[in-house]
Symmetry: D2
Subunit: 347 residues, 4 copies
Amino acid sequence: MVRAGIIGVTGYTGLELVRLLGRHPRAQVTYATSLTSIGTPLKAVVPNARIAGDILVEALDPDRAVEKADFFFLCLPHGQSMETAASLFERGVMVVDLSADFRLRDPGVYARWYGEHQRPGLLAEAVYGMPEIYREQIRKARLVANPGCYPTGVILGLAPLLKGGYLQTESIIADSKSGVSGAGREPKPGLHFPEVSGNFSAYNLAGAHRHTGEIEQELGFLAGGEVKVTFSPHLLPVARGILSTIYARPSKPLDEDSIFGVYRDAYEEEPFVRVYGPKGRLPSLKDVNGTNLCAVAARVDSRTGRVIVVSGIDNLVKGASGQAIQNMNLMTGQEETAGLVYDALYP
Amino acid sequence: MVRAGIIGVTGYTGLELVRLLGRHPRAQVTYATSLTSIGTPLKAVVPNARIAGDILVEALDPDRAVEKADFFFLCLPHGQSMETAASLFERGVMVVDLSADFRLRDPGVYARWYGEHQRPGLLAEAVYGMPEIYREQIRKARLVANPGCYPTGVILGLAPLLKGGYLQTESIIADSKSGVSGAGREPKPGLHFPEVSGNFSAYNLAGAHRHTGEIEQELGFLAGGEVKVTFSPHLLPVARGILSTIYARPSKPLDEDSIFGVYRDAYEEEPFVRVYGPKGRLPSLKDVNGTNLCAVAARVDSRTGRVIVVSGIDNLVKGASGQAIQNMNLMTGQEETAGLVYDALYP
Amino acid sequence: MVRAGIIGVTGYTGLELVRLLGRHPRAQVTYATSLTSIGTPLKAVVPNARIAGDILVEALDPDRAVEKADFFFLCLPHGQSMETAASLFERGVMVVDLSADFRLRDPGVYARWYGEHQRPGLLAEAVYGMPEIYREQIRKARLVANPGCYPTGVILGLAPLLKGGYLQTESIIADSKSGVSGAGREPKPGLHFPEVSGNFSAYNLAGAHRHTGEIEQELGFLAGGEVKVTFSPHLLPVARGILSTIYARPSKPLDEDSIFGVYRDAYEEEPFVRVYGPKGRLPSLKDVNGTNLCAVAARVDSRTGRVIVVSGIDNLVKGASGQAIQNMNLMTGQEETAGLVYDALYP
Amino acid sequence: MVRAGIIGVTGYTGLELVRLLGRHPRAQVTYATSLTSIGTPLKAVVPNARIAGDILVEALDPDRAVEKADFFFLCLPHGQSMETAASLFERGVMVVDLSADFRLRDPGVYARWYGEHQRPGLLAEAVYGMPEIYREQIRKARLVANPGCYPTGVILGLAPLLKGGYLQTESIIADSKSGVSGAGREPKPGLHFPEVSGNFSAYNLAGAHRHTGEIEQELGFLAGGEVKVTFSPHLLPVARGILSTIYARPSKPLDEDSIFGVYRDAYEEEPFVRVYGPKGRLPSLKDVNGTNLCAVAARVDSRTGRVIVVSGIDNLVKGASGQAIQNMNLMTGQEETAGLVYDALYP
């Protein structure tokens, strides 16, 4: 039984971890911290979850943490996570960091998007936690950088084509649409219900969103060379889910059957990627919400010479806490799908 | 006082015409037809509108129609509109056709997207009803083809750049997101509330949507040569509004100030186009819903060498019935903005 | 031309006043204050509105205020409004106060729900601003207490029956459902989009909501004796609108035709109340949103001996800023409907 | 392993049964019928579910049905279900009927709400499938009438008080608000997305809804005498969930602590009823959506002498398919909660 600690339990990703771990067959939450709610029973903080025992929310104390738990999920803001990750890692436990602090290999790139990195020495220990790409490294890692929500959908959407050398790497555009929970639990004017309801808008266009660097790093590794993408985030009037519509020009001839073959071959063994066929409907948010699935479909626009990929995930599950548990399962030698076997609600 | 007839009054665009004309200072609905609701008072069919007199919904009779009204709005399905347009036009009245039947100059292109054209001879009479581009021709026209909802947003979003020769014409991608009213008033499984609520999806990707031909025709006229676009429609869980995020590569150097200048110069006299500046927020659906406005902003992604344009409209107003009344105002020599001075609700 | 000042322009009711006054034929905003945004052009603060001139948002200065404007709308929190109202009133201008500070006749009742009243002497000057009940008094008033949003719907829903003595006054239950804008523009955890979207809940049950006192006061005046109501507010996942379902036992025999007669007689001259007939559909939020209308229908449940009334309003228009302008029109001798002739969007 | 057959698999309740049974530890779908989709793999009809084997949707054939399955769920329209139930029951299998056909004990009452009953002889075999009230009878039944969605929430909300004799039985009003999936999967004008989005309305007021008879029957059994209720359904702009706000006058003194005691005592052993305490928040739809839970809270309005109960369920789970599986578990001697251990998504 994995004894799991959640550092920063009161945000949406922390709460989602508690919910998912509550039904995990071989893990349970044994420690939880927050800056607020200290001393409150975890059951009161996360009333929708099944919680064993009488855990109270605590202020973080690394020494006590590693007594109480063996495996840690860090749900802290970017920039604040690295020190905590280091202090726990140095005490010998395993860590999945849900912040961006260990996602970027190059501290210079990190600095450009997030500010100076305080623990560059630890970057070499960190594995980017996307099992479909780094499964074997994750199995051996003690520190995993859990991918961002937008990057998860975009990278899984493009990986088979980039790995196969099918795309002109300067041609990629990702037009992504996210539910509001991706922006966190803290109320803000732009996320106030009356502002978002019945509305839709773009934000942080033209390379202003910090996930751009993360997407480019991983697409570059897949392509074996530099990749620059135009990444355009949008805010959908839904609570959960990200759908990305991705455009690129092929560098080799592709039709819809052959492109389907590429995806099927890449993902047929993957428990959490569902490839949609060349005919029939496209992924929608409701296909994946509440699940750890990424749904992917590819189309070829022969009139204009472009490939169009649609990928859908639940930003809080495959885009955050579900993928974190998938990583935990790999790191601790369990069944990869343990605790993650949910089907989407319909309707 | 314009006496207006609405052919096909029970769909969303017909109902929206009744609503808007009810507050028009110099026009009123004097005739309305439908296949259903025949004999019902128009007041019962459109309870949210102000309706002068005691008009009953009738079955269409062209001879009676031209006795009762001088100006006609056709809200009929594609393919069924052309005969009715012809029969009214031949009786000497003015017609704005809200279907696609007279939008495409080339009957061969029409055939490819919609089926064979039955009245190709009448195409030469028709003017594409986008006042920002064809204002003078519309003033003299007796038959106006009212633009499609998606094309309205995409064309207004790109016109200044294409006219100025600023874009590589093979580089254009329009990623458009529409509210559900754009799909009409008839209930369908995919538009059933539980299916759309909390959901988001793409449809008709890779050149499968019929508005592609219309967009390409008008962008081609603006560019002075053939234009092919990748057009990707999506279904938003909102009742009204279309937001398009449009990508292209510049053919001349552009920065955000110069691009703003191009838009400002193109649109500063336009009563229904609002250009958003280089800093500050981007258009959202709520900025335009219920209004005849098109809101446009442009950004330059210098990292990837792309221009990104966002345009927003209300699909039932500027994307249909409002623009139709704008055309009527021009055709009948009235103030262009008459009856269209609404401000968006906030929130 | 009425020169209107808005005190507290940056909340939803202040913004809605700016929007509505922007199209008013004989009033315009000439002065606007806020605690934030001082020095910002009003046009930047309310981009969806038509604003004449170059007004800047200012900090409130009563002397300057009465130079700049003749008529004031107070959009301030309860408890903070009374002093400002007094200082303006004493300078001889007209005031509509949108807070609760002058709604309750009895300072003791005010104290129970809101805290001690600082200006009880001014209560005698204030008229409760519901034109359908106090039209003549409003015409002569210089200080009008604009009704609360929930009370507006409930009182208009019950007034004809209570005035006619048709109800057992201890039997009234109002089950009201409000859109989120009724809770104001300030972001709060419970109003964060992901929390409200797809959700529905009751709050402040069992007499805990402060509008209870206001409802009971006015129903008591109508009934000619004390009335106690069970008032249950709920939070709907929509931006605007309140629908109240109201239950009571009749004290005289009533059937659906006779009850319709009572409402029709009471409201047939009212420009902003629409009575729905005994057959046919019931009011919905979309029938009234964006308008100053109150839609009312009554049913008789003969099986259980109860009357059921449904009333719908837009909480920001008839429930706040629209009714405030209706009051301004009366107080300044204008057409009562001036600037308020909007039809609901459909769909 | 229970071999389960679903008759009428393509409606929302049939699809939800497939989803839930897909994760049930000791049951699986082995037979499924529909009027449409015949010959289609069940996997294509219910893509969001886990389905063992290669089941095709078939036309109903009772002889074949009882070869393929031992336990049947009937998801058929009212009036059509009774004959199928009879033909399966007579073949010796167990049946849970999700229609209303066996819910009403008295064929005369059935006739009043639904039309003449064709199989009144079978009514004596049927047990009303609410485990919290009829657990022991359900364990021995072969035919269970699964409760309606509205009745489930209202009955569970009132049962402890009625059983204890705490209420004046003529004083009950249930104001219920339902998500749209409760109206079924068939698209209809009033359920079209643009009509419901941003909207809210009441329907079938004053005893016109057929669930009234079912509610009154069961409340009458609990109270030991006739009960008449005013039941008011409303349509919420959400996909799933019913929240009922229920009003009654107590017949004995009650305060919030004592009323909480009554509920706690009644439900503390119940796996699927969650009682909320006298302080703190009230149930919301998101607390229960996707789960088999009923959340209940009670308040006392001492000012007006009323008890107010709020109950929330997911109409497709506890209000239909989840409760049906709970009944199956009891009828087949399994753990009552098997296959039903889901936690609500948050947010």
